[in-house]
Amino acid sequence: MKYRYFTKILLAFLIAFAPTQTFAKTIKWSMQGDSLTLDPHAQNEGPTTQVSRQVYEALVTRGLDMKIGPQLATEWRTQGPNTWIFKLREDVKFSDGTPFTSEDVVFSILRAKQRTSDFKEYISTVSGVKAVNDYTVEITTSKPNPILLNQLSNIFIMSKKWSEKNFAVMAQNWDAGQETFSATNAMGTGPFKITLREPNTKTVFKRNKKWWGSMKDEKVTEIHLLPIKNAATRVAALLSGEIDVVTDAPVQDLARIKNSPAHKVESTAQMRTIFLGMDQGADKLRTGNTGDNPFKKKAVRQALYQAIDIEAIKKKVMRGLSEPAGIITFPGVNGYTEDLDKRLPYDVNAAKKLLADAGYPNGFEVELRCPNDRYVNDEAICTAVVGMLGKIGVKVSLFAQTKSKHFKELKDNQGDFYMLGWGVPTLDSHYVFHYLYESGASWNRVNFSNSEVDAAIRVMEGEVNLDKRNAAIANAWKIVKDDISYLPLHHQVISWAAKSDVNVPIRPNNEPLFRFASFD
């Protein structure tokens, strides 16, 4: 008797689950860190945008080929130098069923311009936005803006109703540690919705059935994001089949993964430059021992620059997978030239002499702040730098911590000497200057200030004559490069590793688009 029931139950289970087992498939995605917040306007940071991108959409977006194309807007035109008209897609619904209209666009752009938003500098030239009718939006800029579309591609559109209902009208104040509903929940028009969110442990994305577009492969129904901080553990999870795709495969393990017949590795130059920042604004270093701020002197900065053996870092730490950099921008960005990207030579003796001439023959002490779960081998790079600077007498103590704390404390202006990486999603030099070099800019933690550069940034924002604009960019690059306001290290090369039958197209901005994912 008992046995017969057992068979019946088993059969029932088989019938109930068999079809879904063959059809629905989950992609388990891992990287070393997690999104910092689900609020799409609270943090302008890589993995945060990578997660938001699956759930939220923007007016325009970059496709697999990194070219700008329509997303929530179907067409756009300019009306005079400062006015843009966007026609919106009419068949779009948010994942909770409410229709998407121009009200939501107006709300979202204004939300991204609020004081608490990390995107306010992103669209600082947007001076007005209004709904012409339900499916037409008019955006005005304070001056002609040649890169508005690039900027809008990262401004995600939220539902006005949902935000009002959940007290999320203001962008989350991440820097102040605020907790909001929108930081742990996401509701957008994109191909996925988030059904489970455990920060740093697990995030479950399920297909948004109300999405207007079509998936490349209908079998992809669920994405699980499982961040694994330790590189070896992440690789072990991939090799054992627990994880399907890793978007930051550790460089030292690529050979091992390639050896596995069930896995594949893809590498591409990433749109991200890693560099070190030195606070030149403070009168006295917080962690120094000389009672003044050596970084104020250009000779000191140059000494540090020339003491770093970037080729050794490339060969030993990055295993050849990096491109030594001379400026904080990479090929493909408007304003980049190979000439600018040349580095000062590595020369320990010259560095020692520079340091002695600047009045620090015995060097000085300083603390180097590093993230340990953000960039490729970030902590190992910092450890190597500590040793190299030790050779010219600069005694550096390393303080490596998790990225959320690292970034928060940097923005609190607590760092004397720190590591940061910078991607350029707009593919225009303006983005770099606007965040890293403009006086008082939010990520300008070296406290660099130069009126000529500030003036050039104004030209970049308002000049429609491309020749004049490019001249301003070139001039600004020359000034900041000669000043050595940052120590550029290298352009990152990223590698994605995945099971052979899971295809997630690799993109140079390291952002996976799971709507283009497929199974063999």
Partner: protein, 309 residues
């Protein structure tokens, strides 16, 4: 025969401990190994030309050199180098010194704490004894590594970040020491209970020797044997506990690595074929803990009269 001078060496030679020592090959081998390890760890400055704790003396280009007997190995790096270009052999020796210092200090700390509490508890009895013994019961229900993690976590919260790297080693000693004391307390209490009813204790009490003197001058030497045995075995446990904590990343900082830190750092390179970075510290830790354990076993057999054949 009568006029033979009795030297200390002669005394040792005549003792049963010496006799059982030279009759036991495991004891001889393990103590020789330990002697070598101790010597190398404490005189490492004179033995190797490298100082792995000084980052400015390292060259990144030396990083990932395999052991000298492999085809790409270099003779100046006998066991190869790690990811920062540190010579593995000297790093291991420097690291084992930290492991040994932490292990010894931690076990000494828990020995003093545990024996004091156990001895007084056994001697005075009453409510005091009950409280101490229930405390050990409570603590024995918590795994000692968890206890050490808890102490370390609290210490991290209290101590400011600037001081933390310097204080890390003391925190580690305290954390491991505090998690091991109940063993010592229990054993010394049990032994004290046996001793305190013996005639020499009663005699001392009658002639008016103070309690303190009775406990530490008369009873303590008589209960030292079992304490030494669990102390030796506890030393191996303490060294492993230190390695575990450092492996978990809550021990000493990576700039002054102990054996556990070295194993953790090498772990990242396991898949990439640089096996020596994690293998040699691990095998060194095994040899160290194994020799101490073997020596402890031999001591238990020798010092415990009940086990005598």
């Amino acid at each position: 025969m009568d006029n033979k001078v009795i030297t200390t060496w002669g005394k040792i030679k005549d003792s049963e401990i010496y006799f059982s020592f030279i009759k036991s090959p495991t004891a001889i081998v393990s103590s020789i190994l330990l002697a070598i390890i101790f010597f190398c760890s404490f005189f490492v400055e004179f033995l190797t030309p490298y100082n792995p704790f000084d980052p400015s003396s390292l060259s990144l280009m030396d990083a990932f050199t395999p052991p000298s007997w492999t085809s790409e190995g270099q003779i100046e790096f006998l066991l190869g180098t790690d990811g920062q270009g540190r010579d593995m052999l000297s790093t291991i020796l420097y690291g084992s010194r930290i492991s040994l210092i932490v292990g010894f200090s931690a076990i000494l700390f828990s020995l003093i704490l545990g024996v004091t509490l156990g001895l007084t508890a056994g001697f005075f009895g009453g409510k005091y004894e009950m409280i101490v013994m229930r405390l050990t019961d409570v603590q024995l229900t918590v795994p000692s590594i968890l206890m050490a993690l808890l102490v370390d976590g609290i210490a991290r919260g209290i101590i400011s970040r600037e001081l933390h790297d310097e204080m890390a080693i003391y925190v580690l000693i305290f954390a491991i020491g505090i998690s091991e004391w109940p063993q010592f307390a229990r054993v010394s209490r049990a032994a004290t209970l046996v001793e305190k009813n013996k005639d020499y204790v009663s005699a001392s009490t009658i002639i008016g020797v103070s309690n303190l003197a009775i406990m530490f001058k008369h009873i303590l030497p008589n209960i030292m044997r079992p304490i030494l045995v669990i102390g030796t075995i506890g030393l191996a446990l303490a060294i492993i506990a230190e390695a575990t904590l450092s492996f978990l990343g809550v021990g000493v900082p990576p700039t002054t690595p102990s054996l556990g830190t070295l194993i953790r750092l090498g772990n990242d390179f396991l898949f990439s074929g640089e096996w020596w970075i994690t293998f040699f510290p691990a095998i060194f830790l095994v040899i160290l803990a194994f020799s101490i354990n073997l020596l402890g076993d031999w001591m238990r057999d020798t010092l415990n009269p009940k086990l005598k054949k």
